[in-house]
Amino acid sequence: MRNGMLCLLFLALALAHGHVRADDPDARALAERIATRPSSEGRVGIMNFTLTNKSGKQRERVAKVAHADLDGTERLLIYFTAPAAIQGTSFVTHTHQQSVDESWLYLPATERVRRIPASQRAEYFLGTDLSYGDIQDNFSFGLDDWRFDPLEQVERDGRRWPVLKGHAPDADTARELGYSAFTAVVDPDTLIPIEIEYLDPHGDPLKRVEVLDQQRIEGIWTAMQFTVVNHLKRHRTDVYFSELRHVPEIGLEVFDAETLAFGAPRLP
């Protein structure tokens, strides 16, 4: 009896400190629907970045992008075409359902493709405010990475939109993700989180992601334009896609890491 009381007391203390916070089943169900929302078998397009620093100075980046979701692996290629200083720089990532994700970076000056660590998710992607993890997750939240809090709702355009909240289960995961928690307003029709607020591993506001335009590309809802504001660095990245099109027959060699060293990808 005394032991049971002690256990309850310990559990109450732990809950009070947030160390053991149960996953909310409804929230997890929504996160699963977001993670498994219909994805394109293959698509290609142009990704345009505008980076704005705290003094208002802007830098532009343009990249070819290809994406395919086949055979339990999501593959993404980003090949920079401008500015000239980074032309030819390429990034490929393979997100596997059953094994550890893999990523490679090709810097033309080195003539070599470099494998980059799987846990590099928190690092900023080539000077943008997006992390490598943001690029990989594609507006979803890793089901193994987060514990989900009870759902809330918010009134939008006369409708109630779900608000998904999550927190990293421990400090190590928070460091790896670069985030300790998030709050996301999810479009109930498209299942795309249109506003996401992230807290850094110390619990301070880090950045806000806002989707400004969603479009249906061959039946697949896609975030065509979004902006990322980094509160700590007072830096901002605006991204929009152009010429995005559905290419179901895209060859997997486009996403082959070693092929990165052989010039611009030959996208269909």
Partner: protein
């Protein structure tokens, strides 16, 4: 001093004969479309820290263009003009095959073709013909299996990117099979490592780099064995690579002229730099684990040409050579990157009484720490590369600032330390502070 080779223009024409035919084939498939172009101007200058003298002043202008012919064919052309007014020099071209020699070559100016390729890619197969670089291996700057392409040694190892590989005329075919890639390459052109000219800043001084010649001894005239013996001096290589769990591995074999010179005394008192053929068998492995990426390479050369020094003078010999290296990348928070590598280069002692002119075993280490700030606008770097056995090396702190999307400004120090008879220490009087301005457009 410079031995005349056969008519370079005839050889150059021969090497290029195939290209127009293939270009015609590509044109038959589709009209060319300029896909990308890039131009770069780089001004690099340095002063010696010992005496404040300018030891480097070099202006490079490079351009590259890529054309697409339909979905399968692609052509690339890259050229580089270099102007120099310094003792560092533009390096020797006597080690280049005639077909690869600069189109313009004078004491202070040089125009070289960096790339001239026509490639076809279709259904898991890729063919590249023309002047190209084949970069194998996984370590950074430590050449264990990365010995297909020759490199430039005119700046020793103090370049922005190491190694600076030299492109050669040849054919490369990659074929997907057995869940991996077979990569077959032939370099018809027998260009070998580019050396500094005698008297240049990084002209070797140590006995180990001069076939055992004592430190203060005057070097005899050097001649370079004729280049341009294609196809008998072609380099041929085959590599197979494939993924393995959270990593990848490759095995490779290559055969061709050694890219490092062997010194052969001549009856007329000169010393000839020879590049005999040798074979290399190698393997690489690369894997990521958490915040780390591990790399390893192993190579064995059963018939490495070597020099020995004995009572009969300078001798030539062959011995087994084994090279191995491991390295790791670690990425910390906020743009911190650390790379550390360790390499061993071991020559078998052999039965000869004469001593090897270089140490039997070299132990080389490299450590690089890099930190990017302000969204990659500023990059701080510090690197040490050196010999772990002798303790000599080069410490290279630097900073690079992207002024905008076009201009980058870099500054740094190359501090060389050690004894004059050591690999790095031989250049200890050439420590320098440098500045580099790069414009890309």
């Amino acid at each position: 001093m410079v031995r005349r080779t056969r008519d370079a223009s005839i050889r150059r024409a021969g090497s290029l004969a195939l290209m127009p035919l293939l270009l015609a084939a590509a044109l038959a498939e589709a009209a060319p479309r300029l896909e990308s172009q890039r131009h770069q101007l780089a001004l690099w200058s340095a002063v010696r820290t010992d005496d404040g003298e300018v030891s480097l002043a070099r202006l490079s202008a490079s351009s590259e263009w890529r054309w697409r012919f339909g979905d399968r064919w692609q052509a690339e052309l890259g050229a580089r003009l270099e102007l120099a007014d310094d003792d560092t020099g533009l390096g020797t071209v006597r080690t280049f095959a005639p077909a690869s020699r600069p189109l313009i070559d004078s004491e202070h100016a040089r125009l070289e073709i960096d790339a001239a390729t026509l490639s076809r890619q279709h259904a898991g197969q890729q063919i590249v013909l023309g002047k190209q670089v084949v970069a194998w291996g996984v370590l950074d700057g430590l050449r264990v299996t990365d010995r297909f392409a020759p490199v430039r040694l005119r700046d020793f190892v103090l370049t922005e990117v190491r190694p600076e590989r030299i492109s050669r005329w040849g054919v490369r075919v990659r074929q997907r099979a057995l869940d991996g890639w077979f990569d077959f390459a032939v370099a018809l052109d027998d260009t070998v490592d580019q050396l500094p000219n005698p008297g240049d800043t990084f002209s070797p001084l140590a006995p180990r780099s001069r076939a055992g010649l004592p430190l203060d001894a005057v070097a005899p005239p050097l001649v370079v064995a004729d280049r341009g013996h294609a196809p008998s001096d072609a380099t041929i290589g085959l590599r197979f690579s494939r993924g393995l769990a959270a990593g990848s591995f490759s095995v490779l074999v290559l055969d061709g002229p050694d890219t490092e010179p062997r010194f052969t005394p001549q009856p007329d008192g000169t010393v000839r730099l020879d590049y005999p053929r040798r074979s290399l068998f190698g393997a690489t492995f690369e894997a990521s684990a958490g915040a780390f990426v591990w790399r390893a390479e192993l190579a064995h050369i059963p018939d490495q040409p070597v020099n020995r020094s004995g009572s009969a003078g300078l001798l030539i010999d062959r011995e087994a050579r084994t090279l191995a290296g491991i390295g790791l990348d670690w990425r910390g928070e906020d743009g911190l990157f650390v790379n550390a590598q360790f390499g061993i280069d071991h020559l078998k002692e052999g039965a000869s009484d004469a001593a090897l002119v270089r140490p039997q075993t070299d132990w080389i280490g490299t450590v690089r720490v890099q930190k990017s700030l302000l969204q990659d606008t500023i990059i701080l770097r510090a690197e040490w590369i050196g010999s772990l056995a002798d303790g000599d090396g080069a410490f290279r702190p630097s900073v690079e600032w992207a002024l905008n999307d076009t201009l980058r400004l870099g500054a740094g120090i190359d501090w060389l330390h050690g004894q004059p008879d050591e690999l790095f220490g031989q250049f200890r009087d050439q420590s320098r502070a440098w500045l580099r301005l790069t414009a890309s457009f």
